[in-house]
Symmetry: C2
Amino acid sequence: MNLTGNKQIHMVRRPVGMPTDDCFELRETLIPTCGDGQVLRRTLYLSLDPYFRLWMKDAAVDRAAGITPLMIGKTISEVVESANPKFAAGELVCGNDGWQEYGISDGSDLTKADPDIQPVTLLLGPLGGTAFTAYGAMVEICKPKPGETLVVSAAAGAVGSIAGQIGKIWGCRVVGLAGSDEKCRWVTEDLGFDACVNYKTESVSDALARACPNGIDAYYDNVAGSILEAVLEHINYGARIALVGLISQYNATEPPVGPNLWPLLAHNAMIHGFQNNDALGPQFGKDMRDWLAQGKIRYREHIVDGIERAPRAFMGLFRGENIGKAFVRI
Amino acid sequence: MNLTGNKQIHMVRRPVGMPTDDCFELRETLIPTCGDGQVLRRTLYLSLDPYFRLWMKDAAVDRAAGITPLMIGKTISEVVESANPKFAAGELVCGNDGWQEYGISDGSDLTKADPDIQPVTLLLGPLGGTAFTAYGAMVEICKPKPGETLVVSAAAGAVGSIAGQIGKIWGCRVVGLAGSDEKCRWVTEDLGFDACVNYKTESVSDALARACPNGIDAYYDNVAGSILEAVLEHINYGARIALVGLISQYNATEPPVGPNLWPLLAHNAMIHGFQNNDALGPQFGKDMRDWLAQGKIRYREHIVDGIERAPRAFMGLFRGENIGKAFVRI
């Protein structure tokens, strides 16, 4: 199987602020050969997610000492060779092979893709980890009741677009926040949000006051920072804020500050950080498949071709270049 | 009943930052006469609480226009004259008569003091509103389990001293934060906390690391600000933070910022603002009476004599001058 090389992208320098081209290096290594019990697979899709930036902050890297880790990431791959009876060539599997064209392991890190799921990229989108995050924090933290007002930041992103649609399915007034008029149009016209605020061109606090005449009961937060501060100005008694991401500060070079927490006390409200709870997996799978079958969940894919383009596409996540789920097709 | 005057203290100027003497004015008015259905009472004790500062921020005040409101506050009083069949002269009542020596109303704002409660000042301390706040946030938000580590700020104050003792009753490791060695000694030696950090002389983060070797599972916060930030550095997965006061910022002249919220996301933790839930009242009364009878709750009173001294004693709350519950005896 060593017909061509295995292209990989390594981190060779820790970013200061926004990642730059020189943090990454493309390398080509031999495609590994399957040892006893091993599974070799070829990457079809690589998920691009903001949390990689957090990993880059902490991962050991020292080019002079030869420590240049492979970039991480979830993958959908096709088995090309298997010396493990649990897997057969041609099967599709989900794994964590990172930024490379081929992965190899004993298979314990893989799950088989359900052949009924078509297209398979649903496993990175509405049936994948990002949508599971959206679902989990809605079920466990935001818990909006019918008629309540839910606000969602990064509403045109992979997580926010799903969280807001779940709010609509549950009968809420849903108001999104996004960074362009094009995104706002998609969110309101295609996804059915009641309103969407372009936070780059409007005063967020003023716009929320208009869009949320009954105040804010729940907030699904992917970004933190000044948008969270503006939301806090309009929360109702007992409001629930799910803190699922702090994208606004992932590239910070100074220790970030947070919002004044007085509104939490004044309104008996909470901010709850969210980590996925695997126990919710089966309930998520059932609900989301039903909603997809009923046409209640719409999604959009932001596809980039070729592992070479992963660094720029990853940087683009922080510039808001994607609408919907971003991934690399290989 | 107009034998002597009714001394009152009014707010005549909105404070900028820490309240100063010229924000208050002592006045003497006629003692009111009981009209039909009314209850006249003489104030015995006036509770002094930090939240008055929040009221001062928003209450209408305009000396030139004659708008100089009476300072607010909970009171314990003795009925001196009653034209209301529900109350008799000599009875003790709890009310909200504010900073004055006599109050009058139709009685609908009064509750009778249980004669079994001796001394009656327990109704401002372990059986009063501040202790109810301590109890409520422990029951509803902190929910520490036996063996977990609970941290309490303003640990020598009226609320914190009770919250920490409840933590001990529930089997927790309890670590306080207070502003003097004398307070820390009271908290550890008399109240039984496992440790107490003097936040004025120690690095809070370093001291918490030493005092909480297993991390922090719950935090009862009366102050917010830099102490909350230090606590967040040491929280465990699933930590619960009850935000019950933000004393550190009540006198702020600039909009305060908050802590970086990243630890909430990293540790699936929450900060929940707390407002009293009256439904807990009966359970609180039963538990606290039992604990007092069993000697499990200790308390200290910080008594100031004379309504004239209320302003300075109130300002002292923000300088940490009190140990235990502060009130004025009249």
